[in-house]
Symmetry: C2
Subunit: 263 residues, 2 copies
DNA sequence: CAGTGGTCTAGACCACTGG
DNA sequence: CAGTGGTCTAGACCACTGC
């Protein structure tokens, strides 16, 4: 890395020594740069919302050309980990931005543009410590019986309760999280996780099913038992690809729908 | 385009004459190159599965450097319109590939890897010409009463019927499509559209809801009336962003789920 | 071996932001 | 105005494919 060869390029190991590309898998320089940047992000060297060093700065630091750093940043930006702003710099992505608000909430009003009714009303029903059941433990890569934080909330749009969510979090990284903190925080929950607990969600997987409304749904979503609901189970992952949140949502879909784009 | 300036670069209009970047919106060269390639794709100049000219070829053709063509192709490849194969060339993407089989079918078996049960069994229930209702017309950018092709089919996995789909197509581009053609074709439906009708689907929007099973579902999906089903309404678009297919699916989700990744 | 896409460099200039 | 990201070039060499 610090001793790039002048006669073109060849494979180099992460320690920076150029090596013959014999048995080792070929790894482009920019992938290695990308790895270094990713490690800095994981280590919290640059906080969400902050600017990272300029491309030229990183280029001289790594002993490569600007174009190579650029390609590394390009990929991280396309993965929504960094945000480029011409003339200003490159910034660590954060959930505390308007633009990102709806990347993880796919339920939208039927006819129109989302946000027409303003942000959702959020009501925390409960928040308690409990023990992970087998399925919760598996989802969060914990062991059965490990302590977890469990929260339940209702999201309402235009005064109508639409979403019931049960959320499980591993207790250790979220030490100190209380119902009050959750209830009083203005803004996306993932933004709170970032600022208060240094946990950044970067990706999530959702499994969607159709279910019958239960008595719990009847009570909290004001819907008749037996009515069809969308069941959305989400597992959210951090920089390190660690599962950090399990979320089971029940969505009413009479006036809203889950929107997805296939590309 | 054919007269690039030596002293760096500046804006150039689509006709190829360098212009001062005064009031006109600045458009990078590679975006214009991308536009030219896209137009060739739309015109069917290169068919799905075929190779497009090499980067160097296109570069000399457009009078730009290889890197500029490369950036244009990069974007088209990231949009799944082109596929790069090192050492071989760049190819027009096609639905007749294993890799693309499941980009538009998000329903997967609950526990394991998909395809474990092999490809789905497809049974065409009916295929007829009809008139577009108001909502179908709106979805396909037609006028109410325009002729459409309407098909209904059931997809079964492991012998169990799981999906009921109703499909609407504008009659004009699909002239000659019959139930036999649909029933006898092996492979994805979108591959048939490509090869037989020169219609390539590149993107789709889906709206997902939970609904009650009707008597039709009871009959064709072997599910009790009132059971919850996933309702998936899809509008698929072509190169030109024209809506070309409306598809209303009903998914059983006892053993399968709709899978989605949030990035 | 030639031809393709893939990586990398050095340097130039453009567009945008903010002091 | 300086500093940042964004575009573009010319040329070099590497990795891969297939004849």
């Amino acid at each position: 890395m610090h001793t790039p060869n002048d006669t073109g390029f060849s494979g180099a190991d992460p320690a920076g020594q150029p090596v013959a590309n014999t048995t080792a898998a070929f790894s482009p320089l920019y992938q290695q740069i990308k790895g270094f940047i990713l490690n800095s992000l994981r280590a919290g060297e640059w906080k969400p919302g902050e600017a990272i060093p300029s491309e030229m700065d990183l280029a001289t630091r790594f002993g490569v050309s600007q174009g190579t750093v650029r390609k590394a940043i390009d990929e991280l930006a396309s993965e929504n980990l960094l945000i480029r702003r011409q003339g200003k710099g490159t910034f660590v992505a954060t959930h505390a931005e308007q633009q990102v608000q709806f990347r993880f909430l796919k339920l939208v009003p039927d006819s129109g543009t989302r946000g027409s009714e303003g942000p959702a009303q959020r009501d925390i029903i409960e928040c308690k410590r409990s023990r992970a059941t087998a399925d919760v433990a598996r989802a969060l890569a914990l062991r059965t019986g490990d302590t977890v934080l469990q929260a339940r909330r209702v999201l309402s749009f235009g005064g109508t309760p639409i979403i019931l969510e049960d959320i499980w979090l591993p207790a250790a990284p979220f030490k100190g999280l209380t119902a009050e903190r959750l209830a009083n925080y203005q803004g996306p929950m993932y933004a709170l996780f970032e600022t208060e607990f240094n946990v950044r969600m970067v990706r999530a997987e959702e499994k969607i099913r159709a279910i019958h409304a239960s008595s719990v749904h009847q009570e909290l979503l004001n819907v008749k038992q037996g009515e069809p609901l969308l069941s959305v189970e989400r597992i959210a992952y951090t920089y390190r690809n660690e599962p950090m949140e399990l979320r089971r949502g029940s969505y009413r879909t009479e006036t809203h729908h889950y929107h997805n784009t296939l590309g």
